[in-house]
Symmetry: C2
């Protein structure tokens, strides 16, 4: 089906919005009246610009407070409408949205509303355009889609149909099944928006918190199925009022928007992009740094060994068990210090995984690879981290490790195996503040991971939010975080958590090797002793080694943190008994300690 987006969903000037919509691959737009009014372009210029960009103008919107008003008022409205019909001719669009009246002048009289809409449609027809009447959830007398349809039916005019809006219908808890009773050709337009489930005034909810389908809690997919069943053949169009999207760059927002529409079509069974391929583990995490000194010391203290070097690039492989960290020395790319630049996901079908990502508009990254290098498909996540779809030492698939000839003699083979790191437990990645919901959607749909509940974490300087995405067996866990606002850097740190089955031995070995753990305040341990019953000496060990402790209904979690290098720090974790979380309870203590160490504080 054709896809469209309302200009009000995107940030910027009208020309910026049109450009972003076209670049993201939308077929058309709805022109929001205020965007036109504020534009220096004439309607003819807007029409030409849209055509040049390959966009149709599918709707002009909105007209308000037209129907069921006193006669003098209605004549004035009709005059105003005729003005807009002429404008639509200049714009080259044939459908206008009329919202059910919220005017205090409007009366509760369906027959009068139908008569007025008939007269409006008559005038529209004379101008070669048509009217799509929509029930606002807070309309004065008409607030449900079936009521709006009854009035349209009673008006009985070929230039009059209805417009359905998923937010207005689902926010009021209406059953969308009744949509199937409306003849498809009388559904002139379909506007789609999702929203997080919130108990709040519906007008404020609508104006500020709408989001793209799949980001919220409404069953937009189910509604679309009913509309398709009714025989609707027009575009699927996004109309999203969202305070954050108003500020975010239009380009990425438009891409996120279109991806959400593609997923909606997949879910509704009307499109079939390549199937998702869930990753089965972390192949590697890649750090880039202008100077590998500090991170090499840290990795060494954590018990990883430099085991291989890329045959043609300045990339070293550090490893212990299945924990693999690539360290790329690149003075240009990360002048500010160490950063997590890429991650490799172990994939049962790397080519299929990349095909899905590409079809869902993930930017495919160019690879500068030597002829002998293994082919590696990579895309960029919303936060710019590169995601590689890999196979490690698996028969029949290109093996990225073959690009890394082993180094000899620089191992850590003589280190005590107790407390050794086994694998990457999870990665924590800070997202651009305005793309938190989109990041969760990306990881869910493009990578096939499952989002967990969002949690709020109190940083001393503002609330952070965190949401984990995982694969089914927990071998891939990524905690997506955001700070409290655009200017905040408290949450910008990234971290790599390494799993061990003996965190006490790991902490000892780390310190014996010269590693500096993040200091944990004594008050934390006093509280721990009040909250839990420990074996004799146990709490003292944690206190001595800076180990934090948490427990859920499944089991326990013990973990310690390293100092931060550049933007990155490490965590070593031991999960027992099926603990599922990430120690969020301890995050405020960790954050306060990190703030205290930061040069210059904030």
């Amino acid at each position: 089906m054709r896809t469209s987006i309302a200009t009000v969903s995107l940030s910027g000037s009208l020309t910026e919005k049109l450009t972003a919509a076209a670049s993201a691959g939308f077929d058309g737009v709805e022109i929001f009246e205020n965007d036109l009014l504020a534009s220096p372009l004439t309607p003819e210029e807007i029409r030409a610009r849209s055509a040049d960009l390959g966009l149709t103008i599918d709707l002009y919107q909105p007209m308000r407070d037209i129907e069921a008003v006193p006669p003098k008022e209605f004549e004035r409205n009709l005059r105003r409408a005729e003005h807009k019909f002429r404008l639509m001719n200049r714009l080259g669009t044939d459908t206008v949205l009329v919202c059910s009246s919220v005017s205090p002048l409007a009366v509760d009289d369906d027959a009068l509303a139908a008569e007025h809409l008939h007269r409006l449609a008559e005038s529209a027809q004379e101008h070669g355009v048509r009217v799509a009447y929509e029930a606002l959830a807070w309309g004065r007398h008409v607030s449900t889609y079936d009521h709006a349809w009854r009035i349209v039916e009673a008006a009985g005019h070929p230039a009059l149909g209805t417009c359905l809006d998923s937010f207005h219908i689902l926010a009021r808890g209406c059953d969308p099944k009744g949509i199937e009773a409306i003849p498809g050709e009388k559904i002139f337009f379909l506007q789609l928006a999702d929203a997080p489930l919130m108990a709040m005034d519906v007008l404020q909810w609508s104006r500020h918190y709408r989001c793209f389908p799949g980001q919220g809690g409404l069953d937009v997919t189910g509604l679309v199925r009913h509309v398709i069943n009714a025989g609707y053949t027009g575009p699927l169009s996004l109309e999203v009022f969202n305070d954050v999207f108003r500020q975010a760059d239009a380009g990425p927002t438009a891409v996120d928007a279109r991806r959400s529409l593609m997923l909606l079509q997949e879910a509704a069974g009307i499109a079939a992009p390549p199937a998702p391929v869930q990753p089965t583990g972390f192949a590697f995490a890649e750090l880039t740094t202008p100077d590998a000194g500090a991170v090499s010391s840290l990795l060494g203290a954590l018990g990883l060994a430099r085991t291989a070097r890329h045959r043609s690039k300045p990339v070293e492989l550090w490893q212990r068990g299945d924990a693999r960290i690539l360290v790329t020395t690149d003075p240009v790319r990360h002048r500010d210090g160490l950063a997590l630049a890429a991650l490799g996901l172990e994939s049962p079908d790397p080519v299929g995984a990349a095909a899905r990502a590409e079809s869902l508009l993930a930017p495919v990254l160019p690879r500068y690879r030597a002829p002998q290098d293994a082919p590696l498909d990579a895309v960029a996540a919303p936060d710019g981290v590169e995601i590689f779809f890999c196979a490690t030492d698996r028969a029949g698939l290109p093996n990225w490790r073959e690009d890394f000839p082993p180094l000899s003699g620089d191992g850590a083979g003589d280190r005590d195996p107790r407390g050794a790191v086994l694998r990457i437990d999870h990665l924590a990645l800070t997202q651009p503040w305005h793309q938190f919901d989109e990041a969760a959607l990306f990881h869910r749909t493009v990578l096939g991971l499952r989002p967990q509940e969002s949690v709020d974490v109190a940083d001393p300087y503002g609330l952070l939010r965190s949401r984990a995405v995982t694969n089914d067996d927990g071998t891939v866990r990524i905690a997506l975080g955001i700070g409290p606002g655009p200017s905040d850097d408290a949450g910008r740190a990234q971290h790599i958590a390494l799993a061990t089955d003996d965190v006490v031995a790991a902490a000892r070995a780390f310190q014996d090797a010269g590693g500096r753990p993040l200091p944990v305040p004594p008050n934390y341990y006093d509280d721990l002793a009040a909250r839990f019953e420990f074996a004799p000496g146990e709490a003292e060990t944690y206190r001595e080694l800076g180990i934090l402790y948490d427990r859920d209904e499944h089991g326990t979690f013990r973990h310690f943190y390293t100092e931060t290098v550049g933007r990155v720090f490490f965590e070593v974790v031991q999960r027992d008994g099926g603990y599922r979380g990430y120690g969020a309870q301890n995050a405020p203590v960790r954050l306060a300690a990190q703030h205290a160490l930061r040069p210059g504080r904030r």
Copy 2:
């Protein structure tokens, strides 16, 4: 009464919070447990630091999920509580807050709850401390203050009392009158918070949207009166969970907090700061600039004349009618260009107005004045703009104008009087994004102005909010605005609106004098013609001159804007028939035009 603040209300580390509370003049603090846990200071060090700062520790909080649980659980809770009682001894605080249980293990059994609280109080007494039991609005079985009090009464222990929290009581719509039935000595503590009226989940409302008394919509004053009537003699303590305050600097937040408590005491009749003195007009607005060239041209084109110069400072007075603009050349202070740095308010009692401002913690500004200069009292508003309390040419009061000997020959006396500016109509001042509510409170209480409704304005790059404060006859109007977030600069512009009684003549004269009005897109005028019925030629005149038009139920508003110099632009407005607004309807068009002109956009 003594004043206190919970550390959770302020941003930063525990020591930052203590310092901010002490600097703002609070007598004590509530220590929020997580702040203690995350602090590297021992309890003894926190106690000493507080004492050094002159702060008592009035409360330790919170203990949760203590009462009415199965026996084994309760024994564990008691052990945990004893741990905390010992901690309180180390901290030197004698009262702990116990919140009504939200645990799924808790049973609905008041007798058991009373028995458990009695045992808890017994243990507290042994440690020399006492327990204040509070009903959380979302408590599992106990969610109202009268229910909590019945349990406390039934428990009948001298070390057990109740804690009242204005949010928990008023958010549920409970009648606070019943508080008077509680013996004052059994009210161990009083926590105060306001909140904007919002239809949302009470837990989320409480955790994210609380604000200081007077900033929200709850009748905190009425509640305090009942608590006083009951005989309560403890501190008035603020406990405010607010996402914005968590990020804002603790120092200004603490000052805002204490001011709100002083106003609350004034409103409740338990304190009497100097009475407010409402201003009666604008004496002047002061612009500072490193180079007066551009602003001089602009003021000249607006028909103002340079009529006087300060006798000892590089300050020039531009004037027309009662519109007076001071232009201070100061290359150091505003290197970035023109900024509105100060405003003079005409006051019937300048000394009294300054005394009230000072008593309400407005920073009093030092004046570097020559011996012969008129005394002028000034304070800083939350946005840093200096506010002078002035008398202009009034008998018996020092006259600031006498510091400005007149210049000769540089008048605009030969300019056509039609369209002359008459006075300052309003000022629009951008507030720090996290102090919008506080700015409204400051202008209302310190300056005696009346806040109007907040309005949202759609900027192309994000929503702005605006709220006007005015005096009773509308001769002082200040529009306070904020942008969408901390990093946003779209809303940083300030503007001065000048009143005329012939905006068409004013616009002509401005352009004839070489002034450049802000360009208004033709689409705006097409829409205007559809919305209103104009006399023949009227709309064409507006279009030709870049005049915008609005109408409310009282009258009409016509206005045009100048280009922006530095951070400042001017508006010339004509109000007819008692129009009360500020043309908010036209603001998106104005903002889009200003963005389009900005070098480099964003």
